[in-house]
């Protein structure tokens, strides 16, 4: 192997390096800043994410696998890196508002978000079990810390501990699965494992894959592994839930897509039915449990379980069409989630945030424009045209139908109808009930408002003109 290429290959890792450098810079700024000057670390973090985004456009894509076949910097990875960067920016902007109102600013959150983005960026381009696992743990461990970072609130500490204990257990299962696969094939590289899987005894490999997928599905909160989600999402600080519910999920879906494409492509027969069953259970469980929730954060947690179920349909479709639909949906879901959690940051109740549906009463009277935007958001979450959520579901359903899984498509559509009931509880509270109950937080900052506005505009634009994103997603979904 020629290691003299290593220095030259650094040029493919410029975006990662930029995020890392800005994370370290923000850390030092945060260390030396006065109590009221911690915001500088957050602003520096946003600058870093934007700079990394710009460098993503200009940095070259590697034709093959680089660094001795441990990384593959291709268009597929690029697509997901964009998702992580946007998710980080939205989460930090919402954090500004959240910490302002709570009058307590754990500024570590800013650079920890950046470090976890570095982990995700490496995870999506990994084509080797070792580099995958190390970068996976980087963002996994950081997400436990981020969930528990707001120590002023006891629920946040509880969320962090719960997430940590269950998360490490699932990581252990995943490592066992990877160890079995590596033990059978004698290599850690995806392509070499794929070559060995082609002519092996399949039972032991299926066990390894099962354990590996269990660990990954835990992170995605798919149905048998979803128990932690409502508690963690309710307890963790709202802006960080925006990050935790979008970026790590996108990263794990990306990892699974790459693994299936490179390694497990030949196991379609064995896994398709299991993926279908998981998708169905997840959709029903998430949507039905969300129906009875009164707390919007908890409801959105169940809704995120349901959405992971929808995206899982794309995985069950096993193919480029399904992958493209998943990638499209993950991009759209990012903005939907940011706006939905941003709504909570707008409403005040007892010096805190109004997290319950009843707290939204009369919202439309107080702020009709925002209420209109939220209605667009709710339409998109349900999957009604002309919003991006509709386009996302349309691609998922067509990918499934093309593979002949009509029942799955019908169940998906049925679940969209169920979700209409609980999403529009929010809408009803905002428009129908009497005014005067709701108290909109008045401060000079427009962070939450601007995040919601931008998200709603993106949802509408993608919904009406989906062409560009569709083209970009389908171009990126071709791995190599």
């Amino acid at each position: 192997m020629d290691y003299s290429l290593y220095l030259g290959q650094l040029k493919y890792l410029i975006p990662e390096a930029i995020v890392l450098v800005f994370a370290l810079a923000a850390m030092i700024v945060h260390l030396f800043a006065k109590i009221n000057g911690r915001r500088a670390a957050g602003i520096l973090s946003i600058i870093g994410l934007v700079a990394a985004g710009i460098s993503l456009i200009y940095s070259p894509l590697a034709a093959g696998e680089i660094y001795s076949e441990t990384l593959s910097v291709d268009q597929f990875a690029l697509y997901f890196k964009i998702i992580f960067l946007i998710s980080g920016i939205l989460a930090i902007l919402l954090s500004f508002k959240f910490f302002d109102v709570e009058k307590s600013e754990p500024g570590e959150a800013y650079y920890l978000i950046l470090l976890s983005i570095v982990g995700m960026m490496f995870a999506v381009s990994s084509v080797d079990f070792i580099s995958f696992y190390v970068s996976f743990e980087l963002f996994a461990i950081l997400s436990y810390i981020l969930a528990g970072i707001f120590k002023k609130d006891k629920r946040s500490a509880e969320a962090g501990v719960k997430y940590f204990i269950l998360g490490t257990l699932s990581s252990a299962l995943m490592v066992l699965g990877m160890a079995i696969l590596v033990g059978v094939s004698g290599s850690t590289t995806y392509t070499e494992i794929a070559a060995m899987l082609a002519d092996g005894n399949s039972k032991i490999e299926l066990t390894g894959m099962l354990l590996l997928f269990s660990g990954l599905f835990f992170k995605l909160a798919l149905a048998p592994f979803h128990m932690w989600t409502p508690d963690v999402y309710e307890g963790a600080p709202t802006p960080l839930v925006v990050f935790l519910s979008t970026a790590p999920k996108a990263a794990v879906f990306a990892v699974i897509i790459r693994m299936i494409y490179v390694m497990f492509g030949g196991f379609e027969m064995q896994w398709q039915i299991i993926f279908q069953v998981i998708a169905v259970i997840t959709m029903f469980w998430g949507n039905i449990a969300a129906l009875t929730q009164k707390n919007i954060k908890r409801m959105m947690a169940y809704s995120s379980i349901a959405h992971a179920g929808y995206i899982m349909m794309g995985l069950a479709a096993f193919g480029t069409k399904g992958n493209m639909a998943m990638m499209f949906y993950l991009f759209v879901y990012l903005f939907m989630n940011a706006a939905a959690f941003g709504l909570i940051l707008l409403v005040q109740k007892n010096n805190g945030f109004g997290e319950y549906i009843d707290d939204m009463r009369g919202f439309a009277r107080k702020s009709p424009l925002m209420a209109g935007g939220i209605i667009v958001l709710l339409l998109s979450l349900t999957g009604i045209p002309p919003t991006a959520g509709f386009m996302g579901k349309y691609f998922l359903f067509t990918a499934v139908v093309e593979k002949g899984m009509y029942v799955l498509a019908v169940i998906g559509a049925l679940n969209s109808v169920i979700s209409l009931f609980y999403y529009f509880q929010i809408g009803r509270a905002m428009f129908m009930e009497e005014a005067g109950v709701v108290e909109i937080i008045k401060d000079k900052s427009y962070y939450a408002r601007s995040v919601i506005t931008v998200s709603v505009i993106v949802i509408l634009v993608i919904g009406i003109l989906p062409g560009t994103l569709t083209k970009f997603a389908s171009l990126s979904s071709l791995i190599k």
């Binding site: 109590i35 001795s68 754990p106 982990g119 070792i130 004698g186 032991i204 066990t207």
Partner: protein, 167 residues
């Protein structure tokens, strides 16, 4: 022959000690058994000619992690674990799942013997370190970021005073 006998002794010992770890009521005893388990596992590694792993097992786990556990127990002042009261059905369910999983693993490993590929010899010390800084350079670097992140995270979790509070 003698080697495989030693291997099986160590293997059986490590399983037995691991079971003893979870059966103890006193946390200190648990940790003691855990350190014995780790020594037994390193014995397994030594009999398999993975000297490096065996040494790391003793150095890192017995030397580092166990001491860390002891510190945590002393700081938190844990004396005895009270058994959680569970209904019979969840208990039954947990035991069933564990037994099923064990049975599945045993069945699979005995049914299809893993044939270790010829090229999967355990590398020598030098080769191992060379690989760490050549083939696995990127994971090695990411691991250093991981350690930094974990360091910051543990400080955030562990500190008593909220440094970010204005009051």
């Amino acid at each position: 022959m003698i080697q495989s006998i030693i291997f099986y002794i160590f293997a059986a010992l490590s399983v037995l000690l691991a079971v003893l770890v979870i059966l103890q009521k006193n946390v200190m005893h648990s940790v003691l058994y855990l350190s014995f388990t780790i020594l037994a596992i390193s014995g397994v590694f030594f009999t398999l000619h993975a000297e490096f792993l065996g040494a790391v097992q003793i150095l890192v786990y017995a030397g580092g992690i166990i001491v860390l556990y002891l510190f945590v127990i002393i700081i938190v002042n844990l004396k005895e674990i009270k058994a959680e009261k569970r209904n019979i059905f969840p208990k039954f369910f947990i035991v069933c799942i564990s037994v099923l999983f064990l049975a599945e693993m045993i069945y699979i490993f005995f049914k299809n013997r893993i044939s270790v590929p010829a090229n999967a010899d355990f590398p020598e010390f030098e080769a191992l370190f060379e690989m760490l800084l050549s083939k696995y350079l990127i994971p090695f670097e990411i691991a250093s970021i991981l350690l930094l992140a974990v360091l910051i995270g543990s400080i955030i979790i562990a500190r008593r005073k909220l440094l970010h509070d204005s009051d």
